[in-house]
C-alpha cells in the first residue's frame, strides 16, 4: 500500500507587486511512496522539497494536482493525527521545557494530558535528551532542538514521519543514533519521508530516493538503481601508457584518464570497452584487472543535476 501518492502536483507562487511574477516551486510531480519504507527526497536548495512536504501537511495549498496521504485524499485535517513532522529549524515556545513541549504537542495531536505526560519522558530518552528534560527550550542548542523536534514528531506514535533536514546541526555520533532510530521505526512498519540535501545521510538509510530539481522530479528509484554499475570502468595495467596510445584510446571511448597505472574510463557500451582492451593488448600493455565502477549517490545526483542545467 502507498503511504503517499501525488498526481501532477504543482505549486506556483505569485511574487512581487501586483503579484504578476510567478515562481514554479513544483511542476507536475507524480510520486508514490510505499508504506513502511524510508524514502529520501533529494534536491539542491530551492528544488521544491519543503514545498512538497508542506502541501502534504496542509501548510501550503497546491496550484494543481492531487495528493493522498495514508489513503486519504488531501486536504484532510484528521489524517494528520497519524502523521509526525519535524520542520526545518523548529521553534518551540521558549518558556516551555522539553517535557512541556511534548505534552503540548501531544495534546494538540489529540492525546489526553495523562497520556502525553506519560509518553514524554520515554521519548526524550529515545532522542538522548533525558538529562535536559526540565531545561527550557530557549536554552537548547541547535542539535538539541532537532532532537526535541524528532521526539515531538513521535509523540502521537505516527504511521508516517516527515523529517525536513533532521540531522541538521547534529554531531556525527548523534546522526548515527538518529539513523538507527529511523531504521528501527521503519522496521516497526512506519514510513519515513526524509527531506535532505545531505546525500551520504540519505544513501545510508533510504530504501527509495527521488531527486527533485527546480520543481521537477528527475528520477525515482532504489539506491541500487540510482547507483547501479554503469559504463564506468577501472583498468589497472603494468608499465607506463605512452601519450600517443592514450590519444588513440581516447578516440574510442567517452572519457579516459590514466593515473599511476590505473585507467579510469567511461564507455557507451561493453563493445567499446573491448575495443579499448584490444588496443592496449596490441600495444603490449599487460592488463592486471578490469573493474566495473559503481557510482555513489552523489555522483548520480550531480550527474542528473548537471544534465538539467542548461549550457
Amino acid at each position: 500500500m502507498t503511504a503517499v501518492e501525488t498526481e501532477s502536483l504543482s505549486k506556483t507562487y505569485r511574487t512581487g507587486f501586483p503579484r504578476k511574477a510567478s515562481v514554479a516551486a513544483l511542476s507536475g510531480v507524480s510520486l508514490a511512496v510505499d508504506e513502511g519504507k524510508i524514502f529520501g527526497l533529494l534536491g539542491p536548495n530551492g528544488a521544491g522539497k519543503t514545498t512538497f512536504i508542506k502541501i502534504l501537511l496542509g501548510l501550503t495549498h497546491p496550484s494543481a494536482g492531487e495528493a493522498t496521504l495514508l489513503g486519504v485524499k488531501l486536504p484532510d485535517t484528521r489524517v494528520k493525527s497519524r502523521v509526525g513532522y519535524l520542520p526545518e529549524n523548529p521553534r518551540y515556545p521558549p518558556y516551555l521545557n522539553g517535557l512541556q513541549v511534548l505534552e503540548l504537542f501531544g495534546k494538540l495531536c489529540g492525546l489526553s494530558s495523562l497520556d502525553a505526560r506519560r509518553k514524554a519522558p520515554g521519548l526524550l530518552a529515545t532522542v538522548g535528551l533525558e538529562e535536559w528534560r526540565t531545561m527550557k527550550a530557549k536554552r537548547f542548542s541547535k542539535g538539541m532542538l532537532q532532537r526535541l523536534g524528532l521526539a515531538q514528531a513521535l509523540i502521537n506514535d505516527p504511521d508516517i514521519l516527515f523529517l525536513d533536514e533532521p540531522t541538521d546541526g547534529i554531531d556525527p555520533v548523534g546522526r548515527k543514533e538518529i539513523r538507527e532510530l529511523l531504521k528501527k521505526l521503519s522496521g516497526e512498519g512506519k514510513t519515513v519521508f526524509l527531506n535532505s540535501h545531505l546525500l551520504s545521510e540519505v544513501e545510508m538509510i533510504s530504501d527509495t530516493v527521488a531527486i527533485l530539481d527546480r520543481g521537477r522530479l528527475l528520477r525515482v528509484g532504489t539506491i541500487d538503481e540510482l547507483t547501479a554499475a554503469g559504463s564506468a570502468y577501472r583498468i589497472t595495467h603494468e608499465g607506463i601508457l605512452p601519450e600517443e596510445l592514450l590519444l588513440e584510446a581516447a578516440a574510442l571511448v567517452i572519457h579516459i584518464k590514466d593515473l599511476d597505472g590505473t585507467i579510469s574510463v567511461e564507455t557507451n557500451d561493453a563493445a567499446e570497452l573491448n575495443r579499448l582492451i584490444d588496443l592496449l593488448r596490441r600495444h603490449g600493455i599487460t592488463i592486471t584487472s578490469v573493474l566495473r565502477v559503481r557510482s555513489s549517490l552523489e555522483d548520480s545526483f550531480m550527474h542528473l543535476i548537471k544534465r538539467e542545467i542548461p549550457a
Binding site: 507562487y13 508542506k54 501537511l57 496542509g58 501548510l59 501550503t60 495549498h61 485535517t77 484528521r78 489524517v79 494528520k80 493525527s81 502523521v83 513532522y85 520542520p87 526545518e88 529549524n89 523548529p90 521553534r91 518551540y92 515556545p93 518558556y95 516551555l96 503540548l104 504537542f105 495534546k107 494538540l108 495531536c109 489529540g110 515531538q152 516527515f162
Partner: protein, 276 residues
C-alpha cells in the same frame, strides 16, 4: 480539548510577559493603596468618606452615600481600561506574529488542528488573560469598597464582563492586523493610532470633524467609517456609564461586536487561504 490546550498555552505565554506582570503589579499596588486609604465615618449628620483618615466629603445621608462611591468606582474602571489598552495591547500584539514565524506555525498546523481552531485558541487565550486580570482588579476593588465603605454595587462587578468584551473587540483588530502584517510593532502602532486618534475623531465627528468637512459626500464617508469600525471610545463610555448607574447605551456594544466579529472572521478566512 485542542482549543482549550491552545487557550492554556496562550495564557501561559502571556503570563510570562513582563508587560502583563507590570499591569498586575500596578493593579496590586492600587488595590493595596485603596485598602489602606479608604474608610468612612458615620455620625448623626451622615456618612463621611475618609481618605487616609482625612475627610474627603462632607457628611452625606447614608442613603445618598452611594453617589460618592459610584464615581470612585467609575474612575477605577476608567483607569483599568487605560491600563489594559496601553499594556494589554503591548503584551498581546506579539502573539500572532510570533506564532506565524517559520518553524513555529509549521509545528501547530501539521497537527490535526484546523486553522480556525488555532486562531480561536490564540484569540480566546489572549482575551482570557485580560479577563482574568480585569476580574482580579475589579473583584478585589469591589470587596475593598464593600468592606471599607459598605457599598456593594453589582454593576461594578458586572463591568468585568463589559471591560473584557471591550478588550475582545480591540483584540479582534490586533489579531487581524497581526495576521496581515506579521509584525507586532506595526500592529501596535496602527491600533494605537486608531484608538487614540481615528476612533476618538470619529466618535466626536459631529462636534469636531464636521466643522472642517462641509461636503455631504465626505460626511457620509466619515459616518460609514464610524459604523464599519469598532466604536471603542463609545464602548468605553458605555462601561463608565454602566458603573455610574446611568442609562447604558448597548448600541456601541452591538455595533462593535458585529464589526469586530467581521474582522475576526475575515482574518480567519485569509489565514485559511494563506500558504505558510
Amino acid at each position: 480539548m485542542k482549543i482549550l490546550t491552545l487557550i492554556m498555552q496562550t495564557f501561559r505565554e502571556l503570563v510570562m510577559r513582563a508587560t502583563l506582570i507590570v499591569l498586575l503589579g500596578i493593579s496590586s499596588i492600587i488595590l493595596i493603596g485603596l485598602a489602606l486609604a479608604l474608610s468612612s465615618s458615620t455620625t448623626d449628620q451622615g456618612t463621611t468618606l475618609l481618605i487616609f483618615g482625612l475627610p474627603a466629603t462632607p457628611p452625606i445621608p447614608q442613603a445618598d452615600f452611594e453617589s460618592v462611591v459610584l464615581p470612585l468606582e467609575s474612575s477605577l474602571a476608567g483607569g483599568l481600561i487605560t491600563g489594559i489598552v496601553l499594556l494589554g495591547i503591548f503584551a498581546t500584539a506579539g502573539i500572532i506574529p510570533d506564532a506565524l514565524e517559520k518553524g513555529s506555525i509549521d509545528l501547530y498546523i501539521s497537527k490535526p488542528l484546523a486553522r480556525w481552531e488555532f486562531l480561536l485558541g490564540k484569540f480566546a487565550g489572549a482575551v482570557a488573560v485580560i479577563g482574568a486580570n480585569t476580574a482580579y482588579f475589579i473583584t478585589l476593588a469591589w470587596l475593598i469598597v464593600g468592606l471599607r465603605l459598605g457599598v456593594w454595587d453589582s454593576a461594578f462587578l458586572m463591568s468585568i464582563l463589559t471591560i473584557t468584551c471591550m478588550f475582545a473587540y480591540i483584540y479582534a483588530m490586533v489579531l487581524f492586523l497581526g495576521l496581515l502584517s506579521r509584525s507586532s510593532a506595526l500592529t501596535i502602532i496602527v491600533v494605537f493610532v486608531y484608538l487614540f486618534v481615528i476612533a476618538e475623531m470619529l466618535e466626536g465627528r459631529e462636534g469636531f470633524l464636521y466643522r472642517f468637512v462641509t461636503s455631504q459626500g465626505m460626511r457620509a464617508a466619515i459616518d460609514t467609517m464610524y459604523y464599519i469600525l469598532p466604536q471603542i471610545p463609545a464602548v468605553r463610555n458605555a462601561v463608565i456609564k454602566q458603573i455610574a448607574h446611568q442609562t447604558m447605551d448597548w448600541v456601541p456594544f452591538a455595533q462593535s461586536f458585529a464589526t469586530a466579529g467581521a474582522l475576526y472572521l475575515f482574518g480567519t478566512y485569509l489565514f485559511t487561504k494563506r500558504d505558510l
